[in-house]
């Protein structure tokens, strides 16, 4: 009884310490162009998708991200989840808002393309829906998530390349950056120390670090706090997306 009260008190204290994280903690942190949180994409397909996204990013500046999750809970719809994630991750460049996120909710069997402001002209909602219908859904219906997402990303990449008037060259499977992984270097330690020092200091500290990255106070805050997510836990090598804005454009489908 007593220990439970203490645990509760500790939790409350911790919750008070990290107010800034409360809104965002249901959302995972990005880990590159492919974020297979549901574990449904094989390694070589993942490398292919990453290769396409990398080529697109290098040659047009646009960023195409893929996300798979087991569940979008506690968000009521994949549209709500999509815009919250888009606001949190800011895929795309801040000047052009040229990000696209392809999201699959495996549990809900829903898929969504979230299109950044800057690409709404190249990928209007009708076209986004057509991409899902023509390239993504057939494979998803067969539970071949990797193939569906690869086809979808390839189709989107083609449209983006056309929009920027470039021909994508040198697309190759991209394994993870070699520096990523086991070794802990000084910057990781510094990062962790900073996080500890500024726990709850998201509003003071992050803006300094990522000055100009987050625009406005929009996004987040759909649900109330739950458990502690992994955000801010292990240092990730991925330095984050550019800072593109989203307004809810795109299309969704069940499969």
């Amino acid at each position: 009884m007593r220990s439970r009260a203490r645990i509760a008190r500790t939790l409350v204290l911790l919750a008070l310490l990290v107010p800034g994280l409360a809104g965002a903690q249901q959302l995972p942190s990005p880990d590159g162009f492919v974020n297979d949180f549901a574990g449904v994409i094989s390694a070589d397909v993942e490398a292919q998708i990453r290769g396409i996204s990398t080529a697109v990013q290098e040659q047009t500046g646009a960023e195409i991200a893929v996300v798979t999750v087991d569940s979008i809970s506690p968000y009521p719809t994949i549209e709500d989840y999509g815009i919250a994630l888009a606001d949190e991750w800011n895929v795309g460049s801040p000047e052009e808002d040229n990000g696209v996120i392809l999201i699959v909710a495996v549990g809900e069997r829903r898929v969504r393309v979230e299109v950044g402001y800057g690409l709404e002209g190249a990928i209007p909602d009708g076209r986004a829906g057509a991409i899902l219908d023509d390239y993504v859904l057939p494979d998803l219906r067969n539970n071949d998530y990797g193939a569906g997402l690869l086809n979808g990303v390839a189709a989107i990449a083609q449209i983006v390349a056309d929009e920027y008037g470039v021909t994508l060259t040198g697309v190759r499977a991209e394994t993870r950056a070699p520096s990523r992984g086991s070794s802990v270097d000084l910057s990781d330690i510094v990062y962790v120390v900073f996080l500890l020092l500024f726990v709850g200091g998201r509003w003071f500290f992050w803006p300094l670090l990522f000055a100009g990255r987050r625009r406005g106070f929009f996004g987040g805050g759909f649900g109330s706090s739950g458990g502690f997510g992994s955000s801010g836990g292990g240092p990730s090598r991925f330095s984050g997306f550019g800072g593109g804005g989203f307004g809810g454009g795109g299309a969704s489908r069940g499969f």
Partner: protein, 195 residues
């Protein structure tokens, strides 16, 4: 003489400094309130844009549906009426209300559409439906952002001491864009109640 001036310079200096600080504070608050109000207006105009965009989509959608389902005149009329009311809405509250009406009229249309499999597989219709759904989603996003800025603004202008500045500027609380959540288009779950 020197002693004399020393006697009044100190208090006057303090008063001047306080006044200057006060003026700076006031101007600062004034600027930030005006910025906040601009944010509210900007967020509102985004809703407005998307509402307009949806209104522009509707004639196309109706025309497409009509090609397959000519006899569903009642729904078409409801949509046209609701659309006209939305265009004539002045205040935030009126807009929200007629938004809800148009929303439910559109849901009815999409229910009706379920009786026409040919229409549902029509590519043009699918595209329009995606555009409509996308616009609905944009409205939802814009609405949430608008309400967030309104909340910030309303809170600021009601709190002391900013309140004094707000009163001097004649700033008034802004209205939230509240809609009946049940009206939010969920076209596929309703059972067709075509009367």
């Amino acid at each position: 003489m020197a002693r004399n001036s020393k006697g009044w310079i100190a208090p006057v200096a303090i008063i001047v400094i306080l006044l200057v600080i006060g003026v700076f504070w006031f101007v600062g608050q004034q600027n930030s309130l005006i910025t906040l109000e601009e944010n509210v207006d900007a967020a509102w105009s985004e809703i407005d844009n998307q509402l307009q965009r949806r209104s522009d989509l509707i004639p196309n959608l109706v025309a497409t549906v009509r090609g397959f389902a000519e006899q569903e005149e009642e729904v078409f009329t409801q949509i046209a009426d609701a659309r006209a009311r939305l265009a004539g809405a002045g205040t935030v509250g009126e807009t929200a209300e007629s938004y809800g009406e148009l929303q439910s009229a559109l849901s009815r249309l999409l229910v009706v559409v379920e009786n026409y499999p040919q229409l549902q597989s029509n590519e043009n219709f699918i595209r329009l439906q995606d555009e409509l759904a996308g616009t609905e989603n944009r409205i939802a996003v814009a609405r949430q952002r608008y309400n967030t800025t309104v909340q910030q603004f309303n809170t600021r202008i009601r709190l002391f001491p900013t309140r004094i500045v707000a009163n001097r500027l004649g700033l008034e609380q802004r209205e939230y864009f509240e809609i009946d959540e049940t009206a939010r288009a969920v076209p596929t779950v309703d059972f067709g109640s075509d009367d």
